[in-house]
């Protein structure tokens, strides 16, 4: 964690994130409490209703997240501890966004081709490897998974809408 009194840097403050997360949780708690109440959180003819247990869980979420929210807001407003600074956050996004693209790619290309592409592109773009090296690693890892899942353990993985590995016969 950076202390911006000594090293001024831009980023999101921990306190703000803390408050936002607590608010979100409070929201979840309230929605859940409402929904459980609607389902029947009280005693019915044949015992506790379907919403009985979730209702109290929801109350607990509301109570605890409200407490966290109050703590976060009341904490010294000048507390400048950062949740994450600019460069670190961009590094996190550099992993998270391609990962989301990778999962989206699986829908079309299937696990194996998407994995090979993902690993190779990741190595070239972020690891500064040469294309041949990256392609070799990507294909090798993917082939290993193929052997392991389809051939040895007989657990079929998702082949994708376009099914580009159809020619292999699995």
């Amino acid at each position: 964690m950076n202390d911006s009194t000594t090293t001024p840097s831009r980023g999101v403050r921990s306190n703000s994130v803390e408050a936002v997360v607590a608010l979100l949780l409070l929201g979840i708690g309230l929605v859940m409490a409402y929904e459980s109440w609607r389902l029947g959180a009280r005693w019915t003819d044949d015992g506790p209703g379907a919403g009985y247990f979730p209702f109290y869980i929801a109350l607990m979420i509301c109570f605890a997240s409200a407490g966290i929210l109050i703590q976060a807001v009341r904490a010294r407003p000048r507390s400048t501890e950062l949740f994450v600074d600019g460069p670190s956050f961009s590094r996190v996004l550099q992993v998270l966004l391609p990962a989301a693209l990778f999962v989206a790619a699986i829908h079309f290309l299937g696990v194996y081709l998407a994995s090979a592409l993902y690993i190779a592109l990741f190595m070239v773009l972020l690891g500064k490897y040469s294309w041949p090296k990256a392609a070799t690693v990507g294909v090798a890892v993917s082939a290993l998974f193929f052997l392991m899942f389809e051939v040895w353990f007989k657990v079929p993985l998702f082949k994708g809408a376009l099914d580009p590995t159809r020619f292999l016969g699995y």
Binding site: V21, E35, L39, A50, A64, F83
Partner: protein, 509 residues
């Protein structure tokens, strides 16, 4: 001695060539998981669980529990050679392990760590062998109020013994229960909290949550630091092993004390991480070389490793005997049992003798195999750590995605996994604990059933939780744990508190 006979029978079950092979595979995969960032005991076992669906349950649990032992061993390698704890419970091992490696005693430090891990586990398995059947026999008399009280105690202990904000522990836990409640209500058949969406009808599978929270979350965290590994070289030759072994008996008091600390913290859901810190702190206080701790004392490696491994092993006792796991990894193993059609709990010892005693026997053998494997293959695993992060990170994400997909063969689960990854990252950064969330997600349905059945039999009167001395004392203890943060604050006002000198280093988990 019925236990000894049963155990011998267990060895007979385990010692088939196939099972021994699976044991070796499990240990090697486990060490690999323990060494790689982003893969740990819990999510490693969760990812590999679907591969075992087709195996007989006994073989499957042998392989999975060996993965767990391997992960426990593996955490020490990164701590000592790279000063990076591979697992939260090996943080305390870095205090003296890394200084030893800097002094050129990496081999001795690793040997000490592995041997103490082995001893810790061995003491814990001995305890399980004799205590688990007794606990199970005792628990056979439990009705739903008793079971609910034990669940309550488990979850309240998180609040009472956990580090960090009690409110956050409470939120994490309730969130787990909330996620468990999504989907079909098992009693009334009503759909709950699905908001009309058919996708939510299936509910959230805890395996997906474990893979996302621990796997993806961990990768995001390590990426933030822009991980660059720079490790010490390690070579273990038989001479160093022998010399270290000659030094270890001197520390038998530390080993014994650490084992007991570990066993206690493992059975109660304190877990391996606090156990290792507590044991390190005690060793530092009680050793005559206490002042030199932190500069590379072999005793400072022995203490946390023994305790961590003892705790990790004893966490399986409540899982087997009561059906209540003591750690996230034990929770994943419990999930496995349910998938193979075994009902964990006291009846397991009556109905599935082969399985239970096979598992216990495999704990003995697995740890022996583990010790041999890690002592001989350290250089190999250390070299895996030198693979650049820009190759390791995408491969681990691919593994997590495959793991999430294989649980139900649903692509939507892979998206959930990414979502849980982001939650895991934010929660870790804000010090929300993840273990209570996972345990609540696993136990949610069972805890709710126990609660509703108790309420049914008492017609909604909560006093049923105090209806007899047994259930009453468990419930009271649970409430004591729940309000412990408040009670300890009051006590601190009257008396000056002890300062926990390692409070900053200890991770919230």
């Amino acid at each position: 001695m019925g236990e000894i006979d049963a155990l011998m029978h267990g060895f007979a079950v385990v010692l088939s060539p196939m099972n021994v092979l699976l044991m070796f595979i499990g240990i090697i995969l486990g060490v690999l998981i323990g060494v790689l960032p982003g893969l740990g005991g819990a999510n490693g076992v969760a990812i590999l669980l679907p591969l075992t669906f087709t195996m007989p349950p006994t073989s499957a649990i042998i392989m999975l529990s060996c993965i767990y032992w391997g992960a426990l061993f593996g955490g020490a390698i990164t701590s000592i050679l790279f000063n990076i704890p591979g697992e939260p419970w090996s943080v305390a091992t870095t205090f003296d392990g890394y200084p030893m490696a800097q002094k050129g005693e990496a081999g001795a430090a690793l040997t000490a760590a592995f041997t103490s891990s082995f001893i810790g586990a061995f003491v814990a398995v001995l305890m399980i062998t004799f205590l688990a059947p007794l606990v199970a026999k005792f628990a056979l008399k439990f009705g739903s109020p008793e079971f609910f009280a034990v669940y309550l105690l488990t979850f309240c202990s998180f609040v009472g013994m956990g580090k960090g904000s009690p409110l956050k522990i409470l939120v994490a836990m309730s969130l787990g229960f909330a996620l468990a409640a999504v989907g079909m209500d098992t009693v009334t058949g009503q759909l709950r909290l699905t908001f009309g969406s058919t996708e939510l009808m299936r509910g959230f599978d805890f395996l997906i949550a474990v893979i996302g929270l621990f796997g993806i979350g961990e990768i995001l965290l390590s990426m933030e630091e822009g991980l660059e590994f720079s490790g010490k070289k390690a070579r273990i030759d038989p001479k160093i092993v022998w010399q270290t072994w000659k030094r270890l008996p001197k520390y038998w008091v530390t080993s014994l004390r650490s084992s007991l600390v570990g066993i206690w913290m493992g059975i109660t859901p304190g877990g391996a991480t606090p156990a290792s810190f507590m044991s390190y702190g005690l060793a530092k206080k009680m050793s005559k070389d206490g002042a030199k701790f932190g500069t590379g004392q072999i005793e400072g490696v022995v203490a946390p490793e023994t305790a961590a491994h003892a705790a990790g092993t004893s966490a399986l006792l409540p899982m087997l005997a009561l059906g209540i796991p003591g750690s996230p990894t034990a929770a994943v193993l419990l999930g496995g049992l349910l998938i193979w059609g075994l009902q964990p709990g006291p009846l397991l010892f009556v109905e599935q003798k082969d399985f239970v005693w096979g598992l216990i026997a495999s704990m003995y053998l697995g740890n022996v195999v583990g010790l041999i494997v890690v002592l001989t293959t350290v250089p190999l695993f250390a070299s895996i750590l030198r693979i650049p992060f820009s190759i390791v990170a995408p491969v681990i994400i691919v593994i997590c995605a495959i793991g999430a997909y294989t649980v139900h063969g649903a692509m939507l689960d892979v998206w959930y996994m990414l979502g849980f990854g982001v939650v895991g990252y934010v929660f870790k950064k804000l010090d929300y604990p993840l273990a209570p969330l996972v345990l609540a997600l696993v136990l949610g349905d069972k805890a709710e059933d126990a609660f509703r059945q108790s309420m049914l039999s008492s017609q909604g009167d909560l006093m049923i939780l105090w209806s007899n001395p047994l259930v009453g004392s468990i419930t009271t203890l649970a409430l004591l744990m729940l309000f412990w943060p408040l009670i300890s604050k009051l006590v601190a006002k009257v008396r000056a508190p002890k300062v926990d000198e390692f409070a900053d280093q200890r991770p919230v988990d």
